[in-house]
Symmetry: C2
Subunit: 245 residues, 2 copies
DNA sequence: CCCCCTGTGTGCGTTTTCGCACACACAAAC
DNA sequence: GTTTGTGTGTGCGAAAACGCACACAGGGGG
């Protein structure tokens, strides 16, 4: 039996929320809530996936770890999506680490249950594939942005991606953490964050960045951000961006 | 009726070649050969996809074009895969341009036929999804490589990716073309190519780069290359790399 | 045969980011 | 209230790429 409040919690995840009632009810019976602390590693590179996760309030970062220990984020999953696409794509695993970037909750689902639901075809199957395409666009734009844009622009993009997936304007994250995500030096992040602070867009205080002027950030960000949002909007029927929501 | 030689030509594409006989024969009836010149644009960003393509000897580049005209490659498709995954992923289109990076041939298939085959589920459906996951890994490593590695390493990676997808050691491409793919200056490519030439790995002559020492290139390349190859190998049952083949 | 076009080589100064070294600063713990 | 740690500010020189300018070179077409 599913506790009544699970339904409300689960609907915080846009993917689940966009399911027709019938499918939603069925999927719901396979879901159970979990919560995670900052830094928790959900999948290690190459791990077999026992569960997939539909974030409700947490944000998960997909990272690649180089042999020399350097890291770079390739994408981010929040209440817009699902962690564990490799399972239904047929690979069972990926060469990436999945780590909690912002503490919070998710609904988890057993790998076997997800595979069974996916195999049924239909709405859920198609929704997962469309989400995967949106994620591909996000990863693609990360590649482009890494190549062509300044650290400051990338920081804006990253802050907006996080802000979109949170209820609060307070992002609990150190410059050091962000530098690992962006694959740059910590000092570089500090410098860029200072510039944004001077312009009144954000406030930097030990361990948290507060978004003060969301519109200002959107003006400062590169086109990569809106390209990704437009695709989420087009493919999943609603934008994840707070602006477009 | 399908000409007899179509079958042999089609099998140059690894994806088609790995289909069981029954599926292969059925798919084959939907395929017809085409050939393309260098620079031909198959899809423009946002275009509706009328056909998908299974390259046999051509190589296709997936590019993002910035508003200011700057370009960067996000992935490459050759005889290892299929161009047009957005079709079965449910998006019908992507924000990228697909352009011929190396002249040659492909088998084309009508969008509607592909969708119908995909919807049947089964082997073809699963194969396309596994290929898509391999492509995701390729795009992911492009993002990582763009962030963390030197131009010279990236050039090595790019040359190997091309070499893997060609029969010849002669890559017909100018430094300028490569610079557009890598999203860097033409001069930067010239400089990096000179260094590789000095080390005897390649030979640079007006408009073509000849691979002289494949093993040497593999020693010079970053880990990104082997990560992608390992995934292709794992997901699709054989490596695309000439080394692993 | 010479011209012209495209592709390549080279040389600047400039900008961005890096790598390292440290000083400072806040907050919880003792 | 002092200590201890973690997070942030700052200042170099070095390295990698950039933007621009232009010289040269090969090869096909007039």
């Amino acid at each position: 039996m599913v506790p009544a409040d699970h339904s409300q919690v689960a609907k915080k995840n846009y993917l689940l929320a966009s399911l027709p009632d019938k499918e939603f009810e069925r999927i719901l019976t396979h879901l159970s809530p979990v919560s995670f602390d900052l830094g928790k590693v959900l999948y290690e590179s190459g791990d077999r996936l026992d569960y997939v996760y539909f974030p409700t309030t947490t944000i998960i970062s997909l990272l690649y770890i180089m042999e020399n220990g350097a890291t770079a984020e390739i994408g981010v999953v929040g209440n817009d999506g699902i962690l564990g696409i490799a399972l239904f794509m047929g690979g069972d695993t990926t060469p990436n680490r999945a780590v909690i970037q912002s503490a919070g909750s998710a609904m988890k689902m057993k790998a076997a249950d997800l595979k069974a639901e996916f195999t049924l075809g239909g709405v859920f199957h198609n929704l997962l594939l469309r989400y995967t395409q949106a994620l591909i666009t996000q990863i693609s734009q990360t590649a482009v942005c890494n190549r062509l844009h300044s650290l400051e622009q990338q920081l804006c993009r990253w802050l907006l991606l996080s802000h979109d997936r949170l209820d609060s304007d307070k992002l609990v994250m150190t410059h050091d953490l962000i530098s690992n995500m962006l694959g740059v030096r910590r000092e570089g992040v500090t410098l860029a964050a200072q510039k944004l602070g001077t312009r009144g867009l954000i406030k930097n205080v030990r361990g948290t960045i507060t978004v003060l002027d969301r519109q200002g950030l959107e003006n400062a960000v590169c086109e990569c951000y809106s390209v990704v949002n437009a695709e989420y909007n087009r493919l999943l029927g609603r934008g994840i961006s707070r602006t477009f929501a």
